[in-house]
């Protein structure tokens, strides 16, 4: 089974692109499964089910979505193998720019959209920087020049990635993406594979339920800002 991980800021077009990709792959939908990792709620399952795609959704709730991803992706792969999928796709909503739910050796796709602002690629961090393929959506509503500047700024943070423009509504570009994904590696387990990037190192008192504000309540890993006076 091939595993492909998708990540990207909320509403960048991940679900739309994955659905168009599945169409472009020209294989039976029963051969494909999707795992959706989200924070609190998600309606994506309805959109996948409408197209006949098997989907499982997990909510990280109180946990960092990245920690949640790593602790569940292995089981997701087992589910995929048991279901006899040829391809398993994971969709994660990147909620903080420090996140990058990518595994070494597993094809990683980051989806970002032209509307998010031209400098956004320079601020996203590992989720963009560590991706093998960067899919850019919503090119249909911005100018050519803005698309070019956007792609240029992606190139700045990730010189090696392939940048592919996909229209999440019409599916334009999806067949090119499908062609690039054919090279994804076949796996039978994720055991002992490694993440591409450390998950946020946050074990502080607030992680474990503290709610009060003030230095005396703060323990564990803390980082303080410096404010200049005068």
């Amino acid at each position: 089974m091939k595993l492909i991980t998708f990540a990207g800021p909320p509403s960048s077009g991940k679900t739309s692109v994955i659905l168009k990709l599945i169409e472009a792959m020209a294989i039976d939908v029963s051969q494909i499964g999707v795992v959706k990792f989200d924070c609190l709620t998600s309606f994506d399952n309805l959109r996948y089910e409408e197209k006949g795609v098997r989907v499982e959704t997990g909510f990280s709730g109180k946990l960092c979505p990245d920690h949640f991803f790593v602790s569940n992706i292995e089981a997701a792969v087992e589910w995929g193998l048991k279901s006899g999928f040829q391809t398993l796709i994971s969709e994660s909503a990147g909620l903080c720019n420090r996140c990058s739910p990518y595994v070494q050796g597993i094809l990683a796709v980051c989806v970002i959209d032209n509307l998010s602002g031209v400098n956004t690629p320079r601020k996203i961090g590992p989720m963009l920087k560590m991706a093998d393929i960067v899919v850019v959506t919503k090119g249909d509503i911005v100018s050519q020049a803005e698309r070019e500047v956007f792609a240029f700024n992606i190139r700045q943070v990730n010189t090696a990635a392939r940048i592919i423009f996909v229209n999440g509504i019409t599916g334009q570009g999806a067949s090119l993406l499908a062609r690039h994904l054919q090279g994804a590696r076949d796996i039978s387990s994720l055991r002992d594979m490694k993440l591409r990037f450390t998950t946020p190192a946050a074990v502080c008192s607030y992680c474990t339920g503290e709610m009060r504000i003030g230095a005396e309540y703060q323990m564990g890993t803390m980082k303080r800002m410096e404010f200049k006076t005068g």
Partner: protein
């Protein structure tokens, strides 16, 4: 120059010297929040004195930054050099919506302007999309697109990705919060244009020639009228963009000097496709493809007679514009307005 050469350079040469030659590198350091380096030192020494904690937040160490910096230099020297030059595009016919075969094949060469006409829903945008993705029998039309008379192999396909085609359509807008000047500077910067100042001035001038109402360098791009935005987009495509193929999808209602726009694009050694319902645009082109039920059903070379009609069409067009302007200003219309005698 290879990545290794850049690596050697990054190790030995003081940063300010590298920056002087490759100003784009400033962005590399900004992206990593490394603005306070000692620029008189080579990279590794400069990093010795920087905040290691901040570097580690990016998941990097000094050695990795060095490697990434040389990759960055290498990648952007490539960007500066590239311009996917092509001589021709060939459309190998597929089939229409009911499976009927279309023309066997047809070639457009550099410098040609081709209009695409046909009823709404006939497949004009589809043809543009086939060209954009260099269709290989893998779209609903079954068309294939060859470049310079040959099939495009996987390697070329990747090399050309995103560089071959510039697109312009009715739905496109500016979303950046920048002035016209900043916008053009940013685009020139990303193109690593050599004589940026001159290119910007030229582009601004062209845009104003095309636009009905003039605008200034310090106007925000988001505040431009529909016509002004289209004018700026066309001028920008003609003057700044290096893409050899331009695809324009129905921009008629924009209120710009369309014949002038075509002339501007024609000067630029590009292949331009324009899907349109506008007689002025359709007949200003060298050829037009007629689309019917998903097929290219006819290819018409614009005749002398048709070219001779252009002046008359322009007069009609000016009359309509005059009527619209008067109505907009709350004036009355008379037969004299029609004749243009007031």
């Amino acid at each position: 120059m290879s990545a290794e050469k850049y690596l050697e350079m990054a190790i030995a040469v003081p940063l300010n010297q590298i920056l002087a030659e490759h100003p784009i590198c400033r962005d590399f350091f900004m992206n990593l929040r490394l603005q306070d380096l000692d620029w008189n030192l080579p990279l590794m020494q400069a990093l010795d004195h920087s905040d290691q904690e901040a570097i580690s937040e990016f998941g990097l160490d000094r050695g990795m930054i060095l490697r990434e910096f040389s990759l960055f230099l290498e990648a952007f020297s490539r960007v500066a050099a590239d311009a996917a030059a092509i001589r021709s595009l060939t459309i190998i016919g597929g089939h229409g919506k009911s499976g009927e075969p279309e023309i066997t094949q047809w070639t457009a060469t550099v410098g040609e302007i081709i209009s695409i006409v046909g009823p709404t829903g006939s497949g004009k945008s589809r043809l543009l999309a086939d060209i954009e993705c260099l269709a290989d029998g893998d779209t609903p039309t079954g068309r294939r697109i060859h470049v310079d008379g040959r099939e495009v192999d996987e390697g070329q396909r990747f090399d050309m990705e995103g560089k071959l085609v510039a697109q312009l359509s009715q739905n496109m807008n500016f979303v950046m919060d920048l002035t016209v000047k900043e916008f053009l500077e940013m685009h020139a910067g990303s193109r690593m244009t050599r004589d940026a100042e001159h290119a910007i001035a030229r582009c601004f001038e062209c845009a104003n020639e095309l636009a009905g109402e003039k605008f200034a360098l310090d106007t925000k791009v988001t505040q431009l009228s529909g016509g002004q935005s289209r004018a700026l987009m066309i001028a920008d495509t003609a003057c700044m963009s290096s893409s050899p193929v331009v695809l324009i999808d129905e921009i008629e209602n924009a209120g710009i000097d369309r014949r002038q726009a075509i002339k501007l694009l024609a000067q630029k050694e590009k292949i331009v496709f324009i899907s349109t319902h506008d007689p002025l645009l359709a007949l200003s082109a060298d050829k037009r493809l007629v689309i019917k039920n998903g097929c290219i059903s006819r290819i018409i070379e614009t005749s002398e007679e048709e070219k001779n009609c252009l002046d008359a069409i322009e007069t009609l067009d000016a009359t309509l514009l005059r009527l619209r302007t008067r109505l907009r200003h709350g004036d009355e219309i008379s037969m004299n307005t029609l004749k243009g005698e007031e």
